[in-house]
């Protein structure tokens, strides 16, 4: 610690940090632009100027930049000296000379760091009378809006985009007064993390396009703490609502999960909740196949009849539904009649659950991923399957360079200096994957192998570290690689093994667990990351009981054991082959589907019930690291929809043995019941405060900012009466601006705001330490902590991959845009998703006379499907990849052998974008 004096007062601050960080950390105000807690300092904007004095006798002092000046013990500083203030006022005046002063029509207005800093620096009257520079804006694609005139040239965007996120298609163009931040020509930004520009840019240059087109100011947004439902990482988010519509999703800082950033699927993928395909009302299927609308009351009656006392009831849950809903379904039907509803990833997922709970190696938190000094990726294109993790891995490769800088006495926050010292130096990151990846640019080595060969590499390295018997039949290159990597592992301090479900092959996960165990025996600091495909895969996986597989459900149905099947938030066509769904539907007299969106499964249902989405309900999700996290409704008027567990609770009324369920009226009661029954889930109650939470003056936490306007006028088109504040009995939050918004537990923070700090930059007011944990504690709770010694698990080495004699071996390939079911219905995501893609090696493409975008017919044992070709020169011989989750490719399975035929007539994607933006394939 160091003692510094600011304006005559003494403070204790962290040694080695910079003055700006220290000042902000003390809760004092000092304006800044180019510094960002995740990007460090470059000293380019000159806004954070303050005065430093040589010694007590020095009364002149000198101007220094806070962000570039290292804290030293005994330092004498002044923020409030008139010379420092005048300097800062001059800087902002200069930065503002070209600014169009268009705040009223700017989407950043009201949450703009530039507005805040302009006011803070005391620049009020414009003196510059010259002409302003104007720029032509670019079309940067469907997600991000560009308005260059508002730029103050702080360079944060390019530093984030290029240096932090590894993007190459956004640059600072031009120089001096003409500098321009954009692409070299119009076009969609390529980085999967481009959306963070919206929050990184301190002005209105980069804004959220969907928000721009359906606009509400931050102060008029009703928000609530939420969790991204688009993958298993479980990033913390803040959805903003007005008029019952989701307007945008912002990052919600969580030190250990997502820090300052989201991926674009998470940021822009929530739009499905506004979709036309949302189920708004219950419906009963009539003889003509159409659905007759039912009121909520009628629907409940129908439901209770179908689930009556003597009905043989089964249920299929869902890894995308909350823990509460899954548990309620399981309780309703009994655990031996409950199926978690996993899809083709099931075997791999089970392996992940074993590795997590019995592997004995801790899962890395976000800071631990970023701190790793050796990364081995076992079978994951992590940018596609768990995007936020990939962004963290991009930081991990900097560690060697940071170490070199530290050896030269350069602090890690001296961003330009560190990067200059590091040049291309990178910590080792090795990928064993089944196709080219988006991390290859920072990988030391990318080996593309068939999944079983990936598993063999894992076992071989594990054996090399344990000095056990190796794996037979590796190629000479593979053997050398293993030997070299083994010595690197020994030299590492914080190794990280990354694997997961994406190859749909359990042997890959077994190998990763064995490898992690072998590495962990060498280094106690070893960490793992396992990806899972959905937001609650692990939560459902943690539910204990004799659960059934989908195949068991079909068998039971065909044996006549099922009268009514309740399908909870699950489109069965995404889980099993069409033929099986058809068989199931034919064998079950009554199917009840509960879902938020209309899916194909609804067509097979006698009764369809509309379920509240993540913006309309409260619930708990368990992410891939086993962290239980709560999400809260942000919309108060949910119409006829109910959370899944509420429908199911009502269904229990007539069930003689489970009528107790009906008494679980509130979420907290459900949580109690889950915890009582499933001790391994006991922690979920502590994931967030319960509904009895009250602040210092006895109020719940506010969902609306103090300046929320139009409360009494907003719905004047419907009623002239002043609406009552909607009541939310289940949540510790109120649909009101009354209530605490400052000293809150982190799990209840609906927005960040502090006097003078309207933008998200006010976050530092809520952090215990800049870039560190929040003052309100860590939201959520980890349910899985490693116990016992590192355990290698199922140690069975698969045989080496043999290309099929005729045909190709199918491998599963995830895509950040399109593979996930719900986000694929968000307009922005739809627009950037690829069509039904088949990935071919360059050799195969040549042989089949196929080029990128050509049509190809893929023939399996069950039928055929038309795809568009993508060529990947690195694809292992004998394999072809298919995009998981694409609506046309749901019947394909990893590991199947398929044949291919050129399809001359297929229209290309560019030719078939229909006028409504929906793609049609002929």
């Amino acid at each position: 610690m160091a003692t510094i004096s600011i304006d005559g007062k003494h403070y204790e601050v962290e040694d080695g940090s910079n003055v700006l960080e220290a000042v902000l950390g003390l809760g004092l105000d000092l304006p800044y632009f180019c510094w960002h807690p995740a990007l460090g300092s470059v000293g380019s904007c000159r806004q954070c100027a303050l005065l430093q004095f040589q010694n007590a006798d020095d009364d002149r002092g000198r101007i220094v930049m806070g962000c570039m000046t290292q804290v030293t013990d005994g330092m004498l500083l002044s923020l409030s000296d008139s010379r420092a203030k005048a300097f800062r006022a001059d800087v902002i005046e200069a930065l503002m000379t070209n600014h169009p002063h268009d705040c009223p029509v700017c989407a950043e207005g009201g949450e703009c760091h530039l507005q805040d800093m302009t006011v803070m620096s005391g620049h009020r009257d414009r003196r510059y009378n010259g002409l302003k520079n104007t720029h032509v804006n670019q079309d940067l694609g469907p997600l991000i809006h560009h308005e260059m005139n508002r730029c103050i040239a702080c360079y944060r965007c390019v530093r984030y985009y290029q240096d932090y996120a590894g993007g190459t298609d956004l640059a600072a163009l031009g120089s001096h007064d003409h500098v321009y931040f954009g692409r070299h020509e119009d076009g969609t930004l390529e980085s999967e993390f481009a959306g963070n520009l919206v929050e990184v840019c301190p002005t209105g240059v980069f804004t959220d396009k969907s928000l721009v087109h359906d606009y509400t100011r931050k102060w008029d947004l009703q928000s609530a703490p939420s969790i991204c439902t688009a993958c298993g990482v479980g990033c913390n988010t803040i959805p903003g609502e007005r008029y019952g519509r989701l307007k945008r999703i912002h990052n919600r800082y969580h030190h250990e999960v997502n820090g300052y950033f989201l991926c674009d699927r998470g940021r822009f993928g929530g739009g499905w909740v506004n979709s036309e395909r949302r189920l708004r009302q219950a419906g009963a299927q009539m003889s003509d196949g159409c659905f007759a609308p039912l009121t909520q009351e009628q629907a409940v009656q129908r439901l209770q009849t179908l689930c009556g006392a003597d009905s043989k009831l089964w249920g299929i849950g869902s890894p995308r539904a909350s823990l509460e809903s899954n548990w309620m379904l399981r309780s309703l039907v009994g655990d031996e009649h409950y199926c978690p509803g996993f899809g083709p990833e099931q075997d791999a997922l089970r392996a992940v659950m074993t590795a997590l709970t019995e592997g004995g190696v801790a899962t890395a938190t976000l800071p631990e991923i970023e701190a790793a000094d050796l990364v081995i990726i076992v079978g994951e294109d992590i940018t596609q399957s768990a995007p936020r993790i990939a962004l963290a891995l991009r930081q991990s490769v900097r560690n060697l360079g940071l170490e070199q800088a530290a050896n030269l006495g350069v602090q890690h926050w001296q961003d330009a200096a560190v990067r200059n010292i590091a040049q291309n130096t990178r910590s080792p990151l090795v990928e064993w994957v089944s196709a080219s990846t988006r991390l290859a640019d920072v990988a030391t080595k990318t080996l593309t192998l068939a999944p079983t060969d990936i598993a063999r590499m894992g076992f071989a390295l594990a054996a090399a570290l344990d000095e056990g018997a190796g794996v037979d039949g590796l190629t000479a290159d593979q053997t050398t690689h293993v030997v070299q990597l083994a010595s690197r592992v020994l030299g590492a301090k914080r190794p990280l093994i990354v694997s997961g479900c994406s190859s749909h092959d359990a042997s890959v996960v077994y190998a990763a667990q064995a490898l992690a165990a072998a590495v962990a025996r060498r280094h106690a600091a070893t960490r793992v990351v396992y990806t899972v495909p959905e937001c609650n895969s692990v939560g459902v996986g943690l539910l204990k009981g004799t659960h059934k597989d989908l195949a068991d459900v079909v068998a039971a149905a065909e044996a006549g054991h099922i009268d009514t099947l309740v399908v909870l938030e699950n489109d069965l066509y995404r889980r099993m082959k069409k033929e099986w769904v058809t068989r199931l539907a034919a064998a079950v007299p009554n199917i009840v589907v509960l879902d938020a969106l209309e899916t194909s499964t609804c067509d097979a249902a006698q009764l369809v019930l509309p379920v509240a989405s993540f913006t309309e309900a409260e619930g708990t999700l368990v992410n891939a690291e086993g962290r239980a996290q709560r999400f809260y409704p942000v919309v108060s008027d949910v119409g006829e929809r109910l959370p899944g567990w509420q429908w199911l609770r009502l269904a229990a009324v007539g069930r003689a043995n489970r009528s107790d369920l009906e008494t679980l009226m509130h979420l907290d009661q459900v949580l109690e019941a889950i915890a009582a029954e499933q001790p391994q889930l006991d922690g979920i109650r502590a994931a967030a405060p319960d509904a009895s939470y009250r602040d210092r003056v006895g109020l719940k936490a506010a969902r609306q900012p103090h300046r929320y306007s139009g409360r009494t006028a907003m719905y004047a088109d419907k009623t002239l009466h002043e609406p009552k504040t909607p009541v939310d009995e289940d949540a510790p939050l109120s649909f009101s601006m009354e209530g605490e918004s400052h000293a809150l537990p982190s799990a209840l923070r609906s927005f960040v705001w502090d006097p003078g700090w309207n933008s998200n930059q006010s976050l530092h007011k809520f952090q215990a330490e800049i870039g560190g944990a929040l003052k309100g504690g860590s939201a959520g709770i980890r349910l899985i902590e490693p116990k016992g010694q590192p355990a290698p698990g199922a140690y069975s080495v698969p045989a080496a991959f043999e290309p099929p004699l005729s045909g190709w071996y199918l491998t599963a390939q995830y895509r950040i845009f399109g593979s996930e079911e719900m986000s694929a219905h968000a307009p922005g995501i739809l627009a950037v998703s690829a069509g039904p893609t088949l990935i071919l090696s360059a050799d195969d493409a040549l042989q089949l006379a196929l080029a990128a975008d050509d049509g190809v017919t893929l023939i399996t044992a069950d039928g055929s499907v038309d795809c568009e070709v993508t060529v990947d020169p690195a694809l292992p011989k004998g394999t072809v990849g298919f995009v998981v989750g694409h609506a046309h490719l749901l019947d394909l399975r990893a590991g199947e052998t398929v044949s291919l035929e050129k399809k001359p007539g297929l229209m290309r994607r560019s030719e078939v974008i229909a006028s409504d933006g929906v793609r049609v394939y002929g």
Partner: protein, 165 residues
């Protein structure tokens, strides 16, 4: 994203010269400025398609290369006249009536800074100091430095330059 198919937009001579520069340094993208200058020497300016080709050759993105290209005033991203006139608008030249000479020059050519004469002969660009302050005011026409400029001799100077080639 880099598209390798565009490389052949460059001539074999250009590629050979660029590869020569690349061979002298540890990273391909470090040859960016040299490569831009080489192409400009051959073509007078760097078009969008040349830019993409150079970027592909140097294994960098067009944005990264364009960031460099547009940083330098003397790399032309728009077509220029046969001769580029770099007129010093810095302080020594200004003290010695640089402004007056510039006005006269503009009048003679019928163009202002940043413009090209209708016949495509000249492009006029300001330059901050040519390092010949002792002989101010100065300008360069193509590769030739002209010193001690005076409004009177501008016309003959341009005729002379014109006959030069």
């Amino acid at each position: 994203m880099t598209d390798l198919d565009v490389i052949p937009t460059l001539s074999p001579e250009e590629i050979a010269e660029i590869e020569h520069e690349v061979a002298l340094i540890p990273r391909r993208d470090s040859a960016a400025i040299d490569a831009l200058m080489i192409v400009q020497r051959h073509r007078g300016w760097v078009s969008d398609s040349s830019l993409k080709a150079i970027a592909a050759l140097l294994e960098m993105s067009p944005e990264e290369l364009d960031g460099i290209a547009t940083f330098y005033n003397l790399i032309y991203r728009q077509p220029v006249g046969e001769q580029v006139i770099l007129f010093c608008d810095s302080v020594s030249c200004w003290l010695r009536n640089g402004d007056g000479v510039k006005e006269k020059l503009s009048e003679l050519l019928g163009i202002d800074y940043g413009q090209t004469t209708a016949d495509g002969r000249y492009t006029l660009i300001p330059v901050p100091c040519l390092g010949a302050c002792d002989r101010a005011p100065v300008m360069m026409v193509g590769d030739d430095l002209h010193t001690h400029l005076d409004d009177c001799d501008l016309a003959s100077l341009l005729t002379c330059e014109a006959n030069h080639d």
